[in-house]
């Protein structure tokens, strides 16, 4: 059986709203318009305007309102049309939500989910293409999830909504329409994926490729190519950026002795850097080659199609880096002056 990510998210929202009357949706165009990307399709009809709340374009305000409602015990699911706009509300996500349980020593918890598409889409230029995984992932008090498949989308979103802490749920617009096989188990309304556990999407023994979100699919395709060249790559889908499943990563690297990280976000202080540090800290003696980072280019996202392609990781990049990690020869590098 197949399901696309959009339907997976939609069904997860639907089930959690039906199971718990404290759960409500708010955001721009989530109601009458059925969602800018149709993730909330049908929910207004089913649950009415009290529980599917269309907001004005005032992110700071409605994120704050969502957090306040969570203080009181409701379970808001706040949609950002894209996470680029979450910057207008980021003070509430960090200072009002993430830090509250700690600074009140548990008096006030904040069961809220912030969700929406994150990172690069296609042709939307620099202000609409940023990946926030590393930023949010650095904040104690937040949980940060990055679904890849439809199973991830369902299981992680349902867990996020049931979780008593603030969760940042980073979707990917380019995955919404992608179909994935889905099990009966994953379709059950009780299906939840535990937070903070990575998933091994493909087992291998020569090199570990760690990725999240759309880059998992690129990594799997790279692994396929590598297998034809006799390299057996293990592909880890992080699922969760925070908590980061350091154990799963280190166990894999201790087996393969080689590590490639893949992410679409900016490189400096990125998820790849953290994974590298974690492996150096915990498994230094197992590493047979330098860790390879594949990241978004260190530039704002350009509009032109050819430049945009250069600005995000391609399958070739992952293949090349994996080969380097395995000390297979690759073509020479290129340095330009900008």
């Amino acid at each position: 059986k197949q399901m696309n990510v959009r339907d997976a998210l939609n069904s997860a929202l639907d089930e959690e709203m039906s199971a718990d009357s404290r759960v409500f949706m708010m955001g721009e165009e989530v109601g009458e318009y059925q969602g800018a990307y149709k993730i909330t399709k049908g929910l207004l009809d089913k649950y009415g305007p009290d529980r599917v709340v269309d907001t004005p374009i005032t992110e700071a305000g409605f994120a704050g309102i969502g957090v306040g409602a969570a203080y009181y015990g409701l379970r808001p699911v706040v949609e950002f049309m894209t996470f680029n706009f979450s910057m207008q509300a980021i003070d509430h996500i960090i200072n009002s939500a993430a830090k509250m349980n700690y600074m009140s020593s548990g008096e006030i918890s904040v069961p809220i989910v912030f969700r929406g598409p994150n990172g690069a889409a296609a042709g939307v230029s620099s202000q609409h293409s940023q990946c926030y995984a590393a930023w949010f992932g650095s904040i104690p008090g937040l949980k940060v999830l990055t679904p890849y498949s439809s199973e991830d989308a369902r299981g992680l979103l349902k867990s996020a909504i049931r979780d008593p802490d603030p969760v940042v749920f980073l979707e990917n617009e380019l995955l919404y329409g992608e179909s994935f096989p889905i099990t009966e188990e994953a379709l059950d309304s009780s299906f939840c994926i535990p937070l903070g556990r990575a998933k091994i999407e493909r087992e291998g023994k020569d090199v570990t490729i760690v990725a999240y979100s759309k880059m998992v699919s690129y990594s799997l395709m790279a692994a396929e190519i590598l297998s034809k060249e006799g390299i057996s790559a293990e592909v880890i889908n992080l699922r969760s950026i925070r908590p980061l499943d350091r154990d799963a990563i280190n166990v894999s690297v201790r087996k393969t002795n080689r590590l490639v990280t893949v992410e679409e976000g900016f490189p400096q202080h990125g998820v790849g850097a953290e994974i590298c540090a974690s492996v150096v800290e915990e498994s230094f003696e197992y590493l047979d080659a330098p860790v390879e980072r594949i990241c978004g280019a260190d530039v704002p996202m350009p509009y032109a199609a050819n430049l945009e392609r250069l600005a995000v990781p391609q399958i070739d990049d992952i293949v090349r880096a994996s080969k380097r990690a395995c000390y297979r020869s690759t073509s020479g590098s290129m340095t330009v002056s900008g």
């Binding site: 004005p56 409605f62 969502g66 349980n101 600074m103 009140s104 949980k143 802490d165 903070g196």
Partner: protein
Amino acid sequence: TSTALTIETSIPFAGHMIDTPSRSVSTTPSEILTFFRDMATMRRMELAADSLYKAKLIRGFCHLYDGQEAVSVGMEAAITKKDCIITAYRDHCIYLGRGGTMIKAFTELMGRSGGCSKGKGGSMHFYKKDSGFYGGHGIVGAQVPLGCGLAFAQKYNKEDTVTFAMYGDGAANQGQLFEALNMAALWELPAILVCENNHYGMGTAEWRAAKSPAYYKRGDYAPGLKVDGMDALAVKQACMFAKEYALKNGPIILEMDTYRYHGHSMSDPGSTYRTRDEVSGVRQERDPIERIRKLILTHDLATTAELKEVEKGIRKEVDEAIATAKESPMPEPSELFSHVYSKGYGVESFGADRKELKASLL
């Protein structure tokens, strides 16, 4: 002492897009005596915090409320603990007004484990959820959308309760207030925006920060009321009125004309941007405690000596609270890691040296 009394507010309310409530406030002798006791307690607590700060027993930022006490007690007299209050960092007395104890307040201020936030919040972060107090927020303006969110939840749950979201004249210019007010109005949330206009945001006089310092008129579509915030009875009247209004119609703004005697925080002498005369003028003519004292004496509800006795008792209570607070131990080192999450799933957290100190969060 439960005979009803009616007292006239000395200054009329000013209204924006709404008829003002009556200046005749119903009260009782016991209510007025309680006002006196509560305000005097708050005053004394804040002055003691000043000393503790100077003695280095309180650290960091510490914002005192002396001068503004009538806002808290008047508001509390109008509402119940099922209504919610949220405020900024100037929160000690709001916490007290909500039923918090002085002991827990002082203990928190000293960063001890018995504090209302177990020593982890400090001066700016007091909470008391069981009586509807949601803090205690350090970022100017943030508490107003948060407060509208509380009101959203109250309405969502179909409770007949309201939220008072308090903010300063400086905070009044923050864009997020306008965003929140618009949504509160669209959705008819039972939110009362209480602007405590003490006329300065840190060192900036209101007119230097706001083109229109008539804060009660700030929402062009939401009604507002200007209230003598030094008169606990006026505050009570306005809050009763506002609660009733908000439950029926949605948000309303209350501008409380008040004054802070202390500097902005302990690092501000509070004397460079205003004259000593201005401060002493307010103390002499508008002090909220002295006003109530006069009222009590005029109406023969107690004698001067009896009031002195009350104040003496308060001083003792304060001293005892401080002594008790001082006995509270510092938090256990393991508390560094507690409450990062309310459910940690056994994930790891790290100290400064992760190979030396880490924790598994449950």
